[in-house]
């Protein structure tokens, strides 16, 4: 009896100590994460005149988001973010999986290729964007190469064309982070017991069959991580658009994202001039926060259920 009581009091002091140790970190977190988050939520319920909060507005900022002219920008940006997400899923995570599979099949030189694929991820997206902007500009290297190969004629204006600009940015983004899925998938593949692949091979499965029917279900945790990360990153997409197309998401808003729209509203670039609409910006920010949290939770649950345990 006495022993147990002593133990529980010891536990309590330990817990108290733990809380004490967490406090500084918690204070920093509250100050720099929770407080701004709460403030921006609070601010989204008010009318802002210039730079000052004036009167309570209820949900009018939120409803204003869905009315012309804001609705056109909002739906446009939502669509671009969604298209960007699927683009990344196919061109970054999909091709990344194929690369990882090929590296897994051919063990020799795998480490070398892995670092080759991973290299662009070392560079900041701002640098990557600036680099590709130069390469893809009229008179740039890509134009020269395509003209030389006879694949294209005249000057290359893919970044100035509203039909192709978004796809170009997605491709640049995929190029930038291609190393990440390769790295995570190879790690995942190496963790799968070799006996499983051997058994599949004995049953007559080819390489493609082994990838899709054997490896992929076992790679669910890796796929889940990558999908969630890609979702968060694409819906927060800003730097590549900013560097390559400007904060207006040129041309014709064809590369506009939720965050570039937020930036324009909050920092006064929506009218191509410094007129801010902070209330609307905060409402948009709150909505983005909701989309991201709900989306992330749903995805984590979805992949958790599909994880195969052996």
């Amino acid at each position: 009896m006495i022993d147990r009581r002593r133990k529980s009091s010891l536990k309590r002091t330990q817990q108290r100590m733990a809380v004490l140790f967490i406090l500084p970190a918690l204070a920093v977190y509250a100050l720099f994460v929770l407080y701004p988050l709460a403030m921006s939520l609070w601010g989204s319920f008010f009318i802002w005149k210039g730079l000052r909060i004036t009167e309570f507005a209820g949900l009018s900022n939120f409803s204003r988001l869905f009315v012309f002219p804001s609705s056109a920008r909002l739906y446009g940006a939502l669509w671009h973010n969604t298209a960007w997400f699927f683009g990344i899923m196919v061109f970054q995570n999909g091709i990344g999986l194929l690369f990882a599979w090929l590296l897994f099949l051919r063990d020799r030189g795998a480490a070398f290729f892995q670092s080759v694929f991973f290299f662009p991820a070392v560079l900041s997206p701002v640098i990557v964007g600036a680099l590709w902007r130069l390469l893809l500009a009229p008179g740039g290297v890509v134009e020269w190469a395509l003209n030389g190969l006879g694949l294209h004629q005249g000057s290359l204006t893919v970044l100035g064309n509203s039909h192709t600009a978004l796809a170009m940015l997605v491709a640049v983004d995929a190029w930038n982070w291609m190393g990440l899925p390769v790295l995570i998938y190879t790690a995942g593949l190496r963790q799968i017991s070799g006996q499983i692949f051997e058994a599949a091979k004995l049953d007559g499965a080819g390489n493609a069959r082994m990838l899709f029917s054997v490896a992929l279900p076992l790679l669910m945790p890796a796929l889940g991580t990558l999908t969630t990360l890609s979702f968060i990153n694409t819906f927060n997409q800003f730097d590549i658009v900013y560097v390559m197309q400007g904060v207006q998401g040129n041309p014709s808003y064809s590369t506009d994202t939720l965050v570039t729209y937020f930036y324009r509203l909050a920092f006064g670039a929506e009218g191509a001039v410094g007129i801010t609409d902070i209330g609307l910006a905060l409402a948009l920010g709150t909505m983005l926060f909701l989309i991201l949290s709900v989306g992330t939770l749903l995805m984590l649950r979805f992949f958790d259920r599909r994880t195969v345990q052996l």
């Binding site: 005149k49 210039g50 390559m244 207006q248």
Partner: protein, 422 residues
């Protein structure tokens, strides 16, 4: 080299340094100084502004002007953050028209109608940009009224035997001649967020197509952006596409200016503020400016003009008396003269003697001016006509959307807030 000589050099250097310090101390005035801080985004004008204020300080021994520069891209943010936190300057450079209003509405600025009497001798084209929209009071001392026209390379024109075009037909013929000679006729581009330069292109062409009275018709609601005259202006801009650089849709403002400055392109559609920067980037470039020609040879050629910005008094300044003296100087004819001489773009006041030939040309053009429609008339509230125009104009020039559609989108955007003055 021996040790001794090194020591001697060091000693001499030290003495020299001390002498310099002593010189600094003696040059300080004996009276207690009043330092006026002034914020500006025109980093490129730093040396010129310094010289102008040196002249002011020499005449006003009690006042020092401390100019601080923040690059344009960060300026509005820095200023608004500072004002909100009560740590702003005494005098702030302010953007014009709609961009001024948030500062006025938030009460960060003092009206200057009474305190700066020199404002009364400034033309209305200059003052319009510094007016508070709600109360009509003046919140800044304007410094420049830029206008827009066609910059051209005089050497290329001479070599190709081209005269300054008198009609639109002449202009197109000149472009064809240049193109045949392998020279890009018009350097322009608006990729990567510099579509404001294309909007300026429309500003250059607009008044000669829709006429000088169009601005008033727009303001009173008699005309809209969907008016055939405005659509015709957009069409004329799109028609010039064959004379724009190859790959125009992917070229940005910096590249376009470099094409003109480097002599690869013969013309550039731009605002007055390019004068000084063209000159400083290539002092050898021989260029001038002409108003965009109209269809008829005899027509009076109108050009778009606007107030570029102003200098305002921050309400929370602890140094208002001295700051007002500085502002009064900035509103004077003396300042306007120095501004014209040092910076080469049209000053806010017109009572100046002009030495720079390009500036003289511009001052002549500004006699027939009409407000820069999308800026002066429609940048008061978001979405602005400019935001739509800048976003869609490349697509219009490339033929992806019709000029009518662009005009309709502009009208729909401003109709959400624009109430015409009846």
């Amino acid at each position: 080299m021996s040790m001794l000589s090194i020591h001697r050099r060091a000693a001499l250097g030290l003495i020299g340094g001390l002498a310099a310090c002593a010189g600094l101390f003696t040059s300080l005035p004996a009276r207690a100084d009043s330092t006026v801080t002034l914020w500006s985004w025109r980093t490129e004008d730093e040396a010129a502004m310094r010289r102008i204020f040196d002249a002011f300080e020499a005449k006003n021994p009690g006042i020092k002007v401390n100019i601080q520069f923040t690059p344009d891209a960060d300026y509005q943010n820095r200023l608004s953050t500072a004002l909100r936190g009560g740590r702003g300057p005494d005098i702030a450079q302010l953007k014009a028209y709609g961009e001024l209003q948030p500062f006025v509405e938030a009460g960060y600025l003092d009206a200057l109608d009474e305190s700066v009497p020199e404002l009364k001798s400034m033309p209305d084209a200059a003052l319009g940009g510094a007016r508070g929209r709600a109360d009509g009071k003046l919140y800044g001392v304007p410094y420049s009224v830029p206008m827009m026209g066609v910059f051209y390379n005089k050497d290329i024109f001479a070599a190709q035997g081209i005269e300054v075009p008198k009609t639109y037909k002449d202009f197109v013929a000149a472009c064809d001649k240049l193109k045949a000679a392998g020279i890009t006729p018009i350097a322009t581009g608006g990729a990567n967020g510099s579509a404001w330069e294309l909007e300026i292109g429309v500003g250059v062409i607009g008044p000669t197509v829709y006429g000088p009275g169009f601005y008033d018709e727009m303001m009173t609601g008699k005309a809209t952006f969907e008016d055939p005259r405005y659509v015709a202006a957009l069409k004329r801009f799109a028609e010039l596409k064959p004379y724009f650089p190859d790959g125009f849709a992917g070229i940005d403002y910096t590249t376009a200016t470099q094409q003109f400055i480097g002599g690869k392109a013969a013309m550039f559609l731009g605002g007055s503020f390019e004068n000084g920067s063209f000159k400083s980037q290539n002092p050898k470039l021989k260029f001038s400016i002409f108003p965009f020609p109209a269809d008829d040879a005899g027509a009076k050629l109108y050009t778009s003009a606007f107030s570029d910005g102003s200098y305002g008094l921050v309400s929370e300044s602890a140094n208002k008396e001295a700051a007002i003296k500085v502002l009064d100087f900035m509103a004077s004819a003396e300042f306007a003269q120095m501004f014209a001489d040092e910076l080469g773009w049209p000053p806010a006041r017109t009572d100046v003697t002009v030495k720079d030939p390009v500036l003289a040309e511009m001052m002549e053009m500004s006699k027939n001016s009409t407000p820069y429609l999308t800026l002066v008339g429609f940048r008061w509230q978001s979405p602005t006509a400019s935001s739509v125009l800048q976003a869609e104009i490349i697509d219009m020039v490339e033929g992806n959307i019709a000029p009518e559609k662009l005009a309709a989108d502009m009208q729909a955007a401003v109709a959400t807030w624009f109430k015409p003055k009846q």
